[in-house]
């Protein structure tokens, strides 16, 4: 374990050095993320100039949900962005072979080989949005609450990671399953809004099948009083861990199958 921590630190140090060289790209990355998220928030604020509440949800409540989604997404983006590239960068090129010849867990290597620093911008925006929303809602934060928030954000990130890993594993059979991962992730946009606005079917899918509901809405419910869904909120960390276990198991299965069929 300690060895892996040391290794990761070495990888990360190198990424940082490289980032300093590619300053322009880093800035652009931050700007593009900023742009997208700004557009989404702008949209919301315009709509709320004309209405009081959305399905019973106020502007700042929705903003709070957004904030958690941003933060979870940021965690995934900063540390696990390389999962997107498994198909075209590792399997198609045969780079996976080189990884398998090293005495280190292959998934660890793939993940460690990329750190997306522009995700920190995303963290900042998510954090600011969350802070703004909680202020406007008059929320109070005890030590316990802050801890829970941290856990929820991590859990949210873990779910993004798990879904990404699960569908990226299809690359072992498809060579590059990126279109599939991309399609599945388009479902994550549902999670930005309070799930109560959706039909029963969609809520079911986002709760029990692809658990994006637990990336923002359900965890947020822990912090709202009288909104219900408490059981779901508390289940978030469990769902996150379960998702990761399932995804990792599937990854190991895919790796074994890949070693049998070759490329």
């Amino acid at each position: 374990m300690k060895r892996y921590a040391k290794l990761y630190w070495l990888y990360a140090k190198n990424h940082f050095k490289v980032m300093m060289e590619y300053r322009m790209d880093f800035l652009i990355g931050v700007l593009s993320v900023f742009g997208q998220q700004f557009a989404a928030l702008f949209f919301l604020s315009i709509v709320f100039r004309h209405i009081e509440s959305l399905n019973g949800w106020g502007f700042y409540e929705i903003l709070f949900i957004y904030g958690i989604a941003f933060l979870g997404r940021a965690v995934h983006h900063i540390f696990f962005d390389n999962l997107w590239t498994i198909g075209w960068q590792y399997i198609r090129t045969g780079n996976l072979d080189r990884i398998l010849m090293r005495p280190v867990n292959p998934l660890f290597q793939i993940v460690a080989e990329r750190v997306q620093q522009d995700g920190f911008g995303q963290l900042l925006i998510g954090g600011s949005v969350l802070w703004l929303a909680s202020n406007e809602l008059g929320m109070t934060w005890s030590m316990m609450d802050i801890l829970v928030l941290l856990v929820m954000v991590l859990a949210s990130g873990m779910i993004y990671i798990a879904v990404n890993l699960f569908f990226a594993t299809f690359s072992f059979w498809m060579i590059d399953s990126l279109p599939v991962v991309f399609a599945v992730f388009s479902l994550s946009d549902f999670a930005r809004y309070p799930m109560t606005i959706y039909s029963k079917v969609i809520m079911f899918v986002l709760t029990y099948i692809i658990p994006f509901g637990f990336t923002a809405f359900y965890p947020a419910m822990y912090f709202f009083e009288g909104r219900g869904f408490t059981m779901f909120a508390l289940a978030t960390p469990l769902v996150a861990m379960l998702s990761l276990v399932i995804a990792y198991r599937f990854w190991l299965y895919g790796l074994r199958a890949f070693a049998s069929t070759g490329s």
Binding site: L7, G94, N95, D97, L100, R102, P103, G262
Partner: protein
Amino acid sequence: MSQSAIEVRDLVKHYQILERDAGLKGAIKALFSRKYRTKEAVKGIDLSIAPGERVGYIGFNGAGKSTTIKMLAGVLRPDAGSVRIFGIDPHEDRIQNARQIGAVFGQRTQLFWDIPVRESFDLLREIYEVPRAEFAETVAWFIARLQLEPLLDVPVRQLSLGQKMRCELAAAFLHRPRVVYLDEPTIGLDIDIKETIRAFIREISDAWGTTVILTTHDMQDIEEVCDRVIVLDEGRIIYDDRIETLKQTFNNERTLEITLDEGTSFTVPPSVTGLVTELTSDQETDTIQLAFNHHEISSGQLIREIVNCNQVKDLSVVVPKMETLIRNLYQPEVSA
């Protein structure tokens, strides 16, 4: 009995290849029924390689070489048979085996693309858990042998092919692996760099007793680096012996190239009629090439006979190259 480095028994590997008709109709059919064809890449091979041996592993493209290497490296699981690298199953005990192997895979890099070579080496040190002092010594040695000093602070992506190859080679040996797989390490390189690399491989494996498996299309590599050669054809081993033996066994065929005086014609001396075969003849340049078996008639004897009956201006005896020897393995023209 000391443990062998590589022990392979009845190794088999099949691939399933999707069969698909061409065109749009084929694409639609493929959605509904998938028809597979089995390609037998490796059809049951046995290998026994002792520690410290340097083996050339050759064959045509598609013969099954990279499939074998991948199974030895633990990347591919055999369909049948067993592989043991110093007693370890490379696929089942992947991580344990990974500690004792190194590799250079032609085009794909073992190094880290964006960072200076020096940092790549450092990262590898950590990955293979090599003690610092020992590592520093090794690196210094390699830097000297491969002239890596000016490259250390250059990111890998900025290196030329020759520079990159030298760094790759160093990286493969850095952690003092017991077995090293080299797949086309000299492809596309200038001759002087090839020499440097060959010398490096020899020196390191002599010093450390490293077992080397070299896959290459350059026969010069084999001749200069390896002491044993294994030939793979269509998934089976058709030759496995020391290089000297190969040369002795198949080295019977010689070619005599004769240039005659202008305007004269060539007559085959009656005493050697059955012993030579005419390969080529060119009226315009007055040249002729004859093939003969030097066990049946010595070069000297043949030359004497030819010169006696013809007006020879120039001649030379050509000893077959490695390529020819290897080719003969596929289509034995001359009996052993």
